[in-house]
Amino acid sequence: MTNMIDIDDVWKIYDVGGEKIEALKSVNLTIEKGTFISIVGHSGSGKTTLLSILGGLTKPSQGRVHIEGIDIWNLNDRELSAMRNRKIGFIFQFSSLIPTLRAIDNVALPVIYANGGGKTDRKATYEYARELLSTLGLGNKLQSFPSELSGGQQRRVSIARAFINRPSIIVADEPTGDLDMQSESEVMEFFSHNNEQEKTTFLLVTHNLALARMTDKVHTMKNGMLNQNNGGFTV
């Protein structure tokens, strides 16, 4: 199988008031295309920092991140932005919707940054946005603004947005945090289905071990270090 993501000796050191805080310490990880992995660990263990580095949102202090063989931190801003837009779908652990946009527009939003903005098939994008929202149980909320949606519904809109450009990688930080058990199970089913059918690679950060058990591999993080037991273990 092809390696989708290669993380090689990644460090992240923050300078907080002159004190060096090592958020990540020599993290190495290889993720094959189409795998569904989860990362578990206590708060502050560095999970989110790792996600943001491999998602091209935070520059590592040291080390390399390759996505499909491309060293993403060697790309210029335009290339890196294009990669985030086309290859990576983000699901954040907090509400991440644009308050002035309706649910359907929030889902379609990434399209304005695709191909330099405006050259993609908008009609097809909106049709797919409708389909995604309907699949996630929000077919009747297409025209609602975020303020008119519950926390769980907002979360599902942002999940739909992450899939709009049919990315190769989904990076999800506590994606089911605001969801009830039934919604959580539906979302995980949606992820699994997508993982199987589209061969999308999933990286899931969670505190929820039950959720982690549903993934192919589980990695643990502690004090900025990723477990080194040959790329993860099965819970």
């Binding site: 943001s52 091209g56 335009r78 985030r84 644009i98 939003l109 940054y113 903005g117 908008r122 909106y126």
Partner: protein, 403 residues
């Protein structure tokens, strides 16, 4: 409506309605002030250059002591009466470099049955030597100008073919001049100088009418046209040796009006530019706040694929949209206010010896566009630094800033 970078910017503006309207109003006031002031200044300048180019004379010789009255007559069409001996024309004509001279005689009609209207500014000219009236006829009868004819200025109510009467003499309106904004041409009634002398003599014979006090052979002004390449200062100096006359150049008149113009509008323009600077600073401060408020949102946009340039463009385009709308609003109000108060404006300008002619539509469109572009430049300049800051945010730091 499908989402786009433009609609996203518009929706962001609509998010804080009070702030957006307050900014719009502030920008509209400044652009409106700049547009109105520049339109008025343009109008005065336009009127001066158009009117004085039609004047056609390089020099104007008037009796000493009547220069101010002459300027007033020229610019506002205010009837002025002063006379000097016509013999001066021969002296002037003999000066080297003078191409032609032509006299003008100023008269004023009186109220009463003798005249079709009172206080009309009547100017006698010599059609044989004239180079300032006949060439500028906009419409005329299809025959030569005759003794019983008059020519009216554009602001005059009479039209070609109408009959008017002064001091018992019926006269036909032979032609009408193009509008210039310069009073002398727009308000006066021109007739053959010989007819004017005859009319003055006739005025003594009409009972209960104040006669025209002038003597045949006298003139009010002598218009001088010089040869191409001749030395105007030399000719002016030579004529000025005669202690009884004063020489006026078109440049003299334009300079004095422009001085008045600067006095009148200069402070408004200075104030407008101060306001522009204040607006730019205000926009900068407000957009800094906006960027701060929307850090997480900007971070999310970066996460879904917005480049630094896209973020920069988003913020700058919000400012550009806001200021262009404000600019357009200011221009609209400027036009409305100038149209509503146009009579008052023209009256007040005339009181200051400033002729006024509305600029042509093309110039108004150009000035309006310039005012709007200036507003946009102010907006973009004001939002530039905050936009740069917003675009430089690290996506993850920006996202976490809202936590």
């Amino acid at each position: 409506m499908n989402i786009s970078q433009t609609s996203l910017a518009l929706q962001n503006l609509a998010r804080r309605t009070f702030r957006t309207y307050a900014l719009l109003l502030a920008i509209a006031i400044v652009s409106g002030a700049i547009f109105s002031t520049s339109t008025l200044m343009w109008g005065v300048n336009n009127s001066l250059s158009k009117g004085l180019s039609k004047f056609g004379a390089d020099l104007l010789v008037v009796p000493r002591g009547s220069m101010i009255s002459m300027k007033s007559a020229l610019l506002t069409g205010e009837p002025s009466l002063f006379y000097m001996e016509g013999g001066i024309m021969d002296k002037i004509a003999s000066i080297k470099g003078v191409k032609s001279v032509s006299p003008q005689l100023f008269l004023t009609s009186v109220e009463g049955n003798c005249c079709v209207m009172g206080n009309a500014f009547i100017i006698g000219f010599n059609p044989k030597t004239d180079f300032t009236v006949l060439p500028w006829l906009e419409e005329k009868k299809e025959r030569p100008f005759e003794m019983e004819d008059v020519i009216v200025g554009a602001a005059n109510a009479y039209n070609v073919g109408d009959t008017v009467f002064f001091y018992g003499q019926n006269l036909t309106v032979y032609g009408k001049l193009d509008r210039t904004g310069v009073g002398l041409y727009d308000n006066a009634i021109f007739m053959n100088i010989e007819r004017a002398y005859a009319m003055a003599e006739q005025s003594y014979k009409i009972p209960n009418v104040v006669p025209l006090k002038l003597v045949r052979g006298q003139v009010s002004a002598v218009l001088v046209q010089t040869e191409v390449g001749s030395k105007l200062p030399f000719i002016s100096f030579t004529i000025s040796k005669d202690p009884d006359v004063k020489v006026i150049t078109a440049g003299n008149i334009i300079t004095s009006v422009r001085q008045n113009l600067v006095t009148l509008f200069g402070s408004t323009l200075v104030l407008s530019f101060v306001l522009i600077l204040a607006n730019a600073l205000m926009i900068s401060a407000i957009f800094s706040t906006i960027v701060n408020e929307r850090k997480r949102e900007l971070g999310i946009l970066r996460a879904i694929g917005a480049s630094k340039m896209s973020i920069f463009k988003l913020i700058v385009s919000e400012a550009a949209m806001l200021t262009s709308m404000g600019g357009a609003l200011g221009v609209f109000f400027g036009i409305v206010i100038m149209r509503v108060f146009q009579r008052t404006i023209i009256f007040n300008l005339k009181a200051l010896n400033m002729p006024y002619l509305w600029p042509p539509a093309s110039s108004i469109i150009m000035l309006a566009s310039m005012a709007i572009v200036a507003a946009v430049v102010v907006g973009v300049a004001g939002a530039f630094y905050p936009a740069l800051q917003g675009s430089r945010l690290q996506p993850y730091d920006a996202i976490r800033a809202g936590e």
